[in-house]
Symmetry: C2
Subunit: 228 residues, 2 copies
């Protein structure tokens, strides 16, 4: 009985992984680079997406899927800038691929260069769910403390980039940018750090260039292997 339960769980996990890989391949074939944004509540994901959309203006076609337990407050903040769909989990602590796919079907039908998935504000649960993204980016605000990577290791281990937000507050908080990056690199040595402030428009260019380069590298690799 226990053996059978384990086998079924393994099957479900493998099937979920297969669907995420398939979705990622679909995105790649459409030249859509998909970024899964994860963080604590209030780390500044929505504000940085607003700044990103302003920086790129008409340079790239961008869409956003916004996850929340309840309310559409973040979606409303983004609607003036980009096509956006709200994903409401009704209490669940992370987004699932199926919910992302429902949101995709409601977005205006066109080709996007970038799709951002703003996950639930939670440094734990979203770490275990592949949404078909190309990269996962963990946000850490300077007000949360530089000790967080080691305390939430799975989230930092499974992320390719670390966006440190609210750099404008550095003079007022006990936060060492170097210590935070060093702590994250103990867990994920290749994590790419970017220091930003959405309110002061600091680091937005670095962040956007990083995304543009990551997109190009992904599409180039796909075309070389014939997957694109």
């Amino acid at each position: 009985m226990e053996t059978r339960t384990v086998a079924v769980n393994q099957y479900i996990l493998a099937e979920k992984k297969r669907r995420a890989v398939e979705q990622r391949d679909n995105f790649t074939q459409q030249n859509t680079f998909v970024v899964n944004l994860v963080s604590s509540p209030g780390a500044g994901k929505t504000s940085l997406l607003q700044a990103t959309a302003r920086f790129w203006k008409d340079q790239f076609r961008v869409a956003v899927l916004v996850g929340d337990l309840a309310t559409d407050r973040d979606a409303e903040r983004l609607r003036p800038y980009v096509p956006v769909e709200q994903l409401t989990t009704g209490g669940a602590c992370h987004l699932e691929l199926s919910l992302v796919q429902q949101g995709l079907s409601r977005l205006p039908r066109q080709t996007y260069d970038f799709l951002f998935i703003e996950n639930i504000g939670n440094l734990v649960c979203p770490a275990s769910h592949d949404l078909g993204e190309h990269i996962r980016v963990v946000f850490l605000s300077t007000t949360e403390g530089d000790d967080k990577p080691g305390k939430y290791p799975k989230m930092f281990r499974t992320s390719q980039a670390l966006v440190i937000t609210k750099s404008d507050l550095l003079p007022y908080v006990p936060f060492s940018v170097e210590a935070a990056i060093a702590d994250a690199r103990l867990i994920q040595p290749e994590i790419h750090p970017v220091l930003t402030s959405a309110t002061k428009d600091e680091g937005i260019k670095d962040w956007c260039r990083y995304l543009e380069n990551a997109r190009e590298a992904t599409l180039r690799a796909a075309s070389q292997t014939g997957a694109g």
Copy 2:
């Protein structure tokens, strides 16, 4: 099959509730007032506990159980002030009563006036787990934004007090204390708000007086009903 699964789940939930109620009665009989602290990562639970221990000095016997996914960083910060035990969930997004009871058995054997349970930094999962506490207190830092109560409604609905932390940063962030309290009261009209700054020692006296009054009221009610 489905009916049986639902029935078993209902039984497990009822059994968990029964154990939490029993644990709460035990605490009450020992005159130990138990406070479950919940918040986002980095909202300032540990810093406020340090300030609380300093304020009370030898006035009350205090102990702390600190939950984390990994590391004992918070426990180390509290050890100079009070008896503290680390609860490591190994990745789980919330504390369970059984883990709390294991921590209790490792604390120095004496009577405590206050026991604080510092939950995992997470505004979602801990809302669904009764740890046998007398009150649940949700912390919200001024840097997280005043829109959080509506976005994480279950956590605010199940809390008796709202501690707004980092009031020293109010001049630098777009946060309205009134708006945050109003948003929380839409969900939980009786929530008790306290504005604090651990670094500037603001509101610590209000917070401690609130806890002292809540403890007295609980013990008085228990003695009147004969439960104490």
